[in-house]
């Protein structure tokens, strides 16, 4: 078993072996989560703090449940409403919190690189729960686990990531992870929502849904991030739905057994047809949520092991 990282800041710095280690461990937590007694003690005596500088319901809940099931003491800090408003800098907040000796720090921040910066100032394991448009590693890992369980493998698959790539940290982490495990990644969306230089990332870029989905094993839809846009990326939501919204007609261009994924929260009728999202034969969206808890348990377990080892060495 190999897992060298001391923080989980992004997929970029993880090796393929570390990713597989984490996914394998997560499998065992899927079983635990389905059992009657959902308790383990691997984080017993440890303190987990969730700092969300950006509103979140599902990710925060997922991390909280993951920590509690592993026996950690979990605290949620709603940062949007606290000292940041009083002008405290990110580093001061980190230092203050560090003085309370947390063991695991789960951080979401609206600015790219902020979690990285914070990790340099604390003596605990930091997990990136999403920073700006940069990375969202646990999302990519839970997507990977979902795909692996559904397709029976996680290599040599054709995977289309569709929609608002430009504003998506989920897309960046997924491009990196799926590339590291040797899959063919396609990006599909209007050119205004493609980040610059994206073709240099080892992906194929399409602006037509039907071309992009042709022969795909996995169709990953992204949320149209209206809150990150400063206007004018698409002419209207109805045109976007017409050209890029996933419905059964467009999905028919993918392989017959292609699965449909979405990181949530969904804008039904904007990027995905509501009925398709609920179709249990095609959509694995609920599986993604389930895998999320297992993957986060595995990530915290592995980081806690490395943290204990480094503390014993010191």
């Amino acid at each position: 078993m190999t897992f060298r990282a001391n923080h989980l800041l992004g997929i970029e710095t993880l090796g393929p072996d570390e990713i597989v280690t984490l996914l394998d461990l997560a499998e065992s937590y899927v079983d635990l989560n389905r059992a009657g007694n959902k308790h383990a003690e691997v984080l017993g005596g440890m303190t987990q703090v969730n700092m969300f500088f950006e509103a979140s319901t599902r990710t925060q809940a997922s991390f909280e449940i993951a920590g509690k099931r592993l026996g950690a003491d979990v605290m949620n800090m709603a940062m949007a409403a606290s000292s940041i408003k009083k002008g405290e800098t990110l580093i001061d907040t980190a230092m203050t919190l560090n003085a309370m000796h947390p063991d695991l720090l789960v951080v979401r921040h609206p600015h790219s690189g902020a979690v990285d910066l914070l990790s340099q100032k604390v003596n605990c394991a930091v997990l990136n729960a999403g920073d700006g448009r940069h990375e969202h590693p646990t999302q990519a890992l839970l997507d990977a686990l979902t795909i692996r369980r559904s397709k029976g493998r996680l290599h040599r698959l054709n995977i289309a990531i569709c929609g608002d790539i430009a504003h998506s940290r989920v897309a960046r982490s997924n491009i990196l992870l799926l590339g590291k495990l040797e899959n063919r990644v396609r990006l599909v969306g209007p050119t205004t929502l493609m980040p610059s230089g994206v073709a240099d990332l080892g992906v194929e870029v399409y602006d037509d849904m039907r071309d992009g989905l042709a022969g795909c094993d996995v169709v990953m839809m992204l949320r149209l991030q209206k809150e990150r846009m400063d206007g004018g990326f698409i002419p209207s939501e109805r045109e976007y739905y017409h050209r890029y919204g996933l419905d059964t007609e467009k999905l028919a261009h993918a392989k017959e057994d292609a699965i449909v994924m979405h990181p949530g929260p969904m804008n039904r009728g904007v990027e995905i047809d509501g009925l398709l999202a609920d179709d249990i034969n095609r959509s694995v969206i609920q599986d993604q949520v389930e895998m999320g808890v297992a993957v986060r348990m595995a990530a915290m377990d592995l980081l806690a092991q490395n943290l204990r080892a480094s503390r014993e060495a010191a």
Binding site: T89, S112, G113, A114, G132, E135, R169, P195, S196
Partner: protein, 426 residues
């Protein structure tokens, strides 16, 4: 009467384009002879040990925190930094708080500079009142009070009518106007140059085309008004054809580039290192090479440090929120040596851009070793290696992108009007 003889030097003369061994005789702060046959009685001698002796650097665009941000840099600390870096004239920016937009503020700047700075100061004044881009400042009064050029720093005068009037009025006074070329709409909110790096880091980027758009607009207005114009910083290859056309059609246009855009590229930002956040953002390696070539060919006239002190608090923030700018007075010369050692620029060519051209463009003394010129001199060892430690900088702010970098080229001595200002007197 004081006499100094600099002996056994390698004289870097950008005007003559030569780098020959020789000696220099200085009387009362003025260069009076090259290679005198005898050293006059009573002359103090300086043995240069075969090292390079060149005209002191004239650095255009130095930000000093006075008035308003003295905790970041004062005239005194900037003076020390300049002396240690071989900069004998600092052309200071007007983007202070308040800005240098009245003769009264300009008087304050000149008085403070005279009192405490080790090197010469030539102040610029703001182009518009409050640097707000609405009304031109009192060019006449400000020029009479000693403003050498007019610039709103990194703010763009967005209204073409306001800029056209300011340029027309400046033309009447034969005043030099600086432009910062960056289309404000396209570059809004950007922290880095768009492309693969920006995408991987998830940072908002701007295309270098924003620079070309700003330049093309300004050049059109220069064609209309005939004003004297200098672009503070060119950083992208896409801007060069426009500059070339302007030159060919005889417009009175010069251009500068910062040392950071000549020696660093966008990938140096690495893991969100905010000391590498500058304005305009660092560009691709292709752009960097184009800038070096443009300096070599003379299309870009002037190299500056774009010295911008920022305290730790302004930089210890997430990249998008962190302040822009880097200090450069003390690292300008060693960084510029990279162009000599790695990119093949000759010392004489380099000194045209560091010293001769900026002095000529702003009508300042210095920039040459010709007889009758002031003895503003820098003695340096172009090969001496060292590792830069930012805590040793004389600037009050230590925000250098070269912290920990291996550099080659050290200043051994700096003289202003024949007076030694570095190494510092105790």
């Amino acid at each position: 009467m004081s006499l100094i003889c600099f002996q056994n030097a390698r004289l870097i003369d950008p005007q003559a384009g030569t780098e020959d061994p020789g000696s220099l005789l200085v009387r009362d702060g003025v260069i009076i002879a090259h290679n005198p046959s005898t050293v006059p009685n009573g002359a103090q001698t300086v043995d240069c040990e075969g090292k390079c002796l060149a005209p002191g650097i004239v650095d255009i665009g130095v930000k000093i925190g006075e008035p308003g941000e003295r905790h970041k840099e004062s005239f005194k600390t900037a003076g020390y930094a300049a002396a240690a870096g071989g900069v004998t004239t600092m052309v200071t920016r007007a983007d202070t708080t308040p800005p240098v937009d009245t003769p009264e503020v300009l008087d304050f700047v000149k008085r403070r500079a005279q009192e405490v700075s080790l090197v010469r100061i030539a102040p610029m004044a703001a182009l518009t009142k409050g640097r707000e881009g609405r009304e031109m400042t009192e060019f006449g009064f400000l020029r009479d009070a000693g403003a050498v050029a007019f610039s709103d720093g990194d703010r763009v005068v967005q209204d073409p009518k306001v800029l056209a009037r300011a340029l027309t009025y400046a033309k009447g006074l034969d005043a030099l106007v600086f432009g910062h070329v960056q289309d404000p709409g396209l570059s809004k909110g950007a922290a880095v140059t768009s492309g693969k790096f920006a995408t991987l880091r998830g940072l908002p980027g701007v295309s270098p085309i924003a620079e070309r758009m700003g330049l093309e607009r300004d050049l059109a207005l220069i064609e209309m008004t005939g004003a004297r114009y200098h672009v503070d910083q060119i950083s992208s290859a896409s801007s060069l054809p426009a500059l070339e056309r302007a030159r060919a059609s005889g417009l009175d246009v010069t251009a500068g580039v910062s040392i950071h855009h000549l020696t660093l590229n966008e990938f140096d930002v690495g893991d969100y290192r905010t000391f590498f956040k500058v304005k305009p953002p660092l560009r691709s390696e292709d752009d960097r090479l184009s800038m070096v070539e443009a300096v070599t060919s003379g299309l870009i006239d002037i190299i500056c440090s774009m010295h911008t002190p920022q305290d730790e608090e302004s930089k210890r923030l997430p990249f998008e929120e962190a302040a822009s700018g880097a200090v450069g007075l003390e690292t300008l010369l060693p960084a510029a040596m990279r162009l000599v050692h790695s990119d093949g620029i000759t010392l004489a060519n380099l000194w045209r851009a560091l010293s001769l051209n900026p002095a000529k463009r702003l009508g300042l003394p210095g920039g040459t070793l010709a007889e009758g010129s002031p003895a503003d001199l820098v003695l340096f060892d172009e090969n001496a290696p060292f590792v830069l430690d930012r805590t040793t900088l004389n600037s009050k702010s230590k925000n250098t992108p070269f912290d920990g970098a291996r550099m080659q080229g050290r200043v051994r001595g700096t003289w202003v009007a024949g007076r030694r200002v570095f190494p510092f007197a105790d």
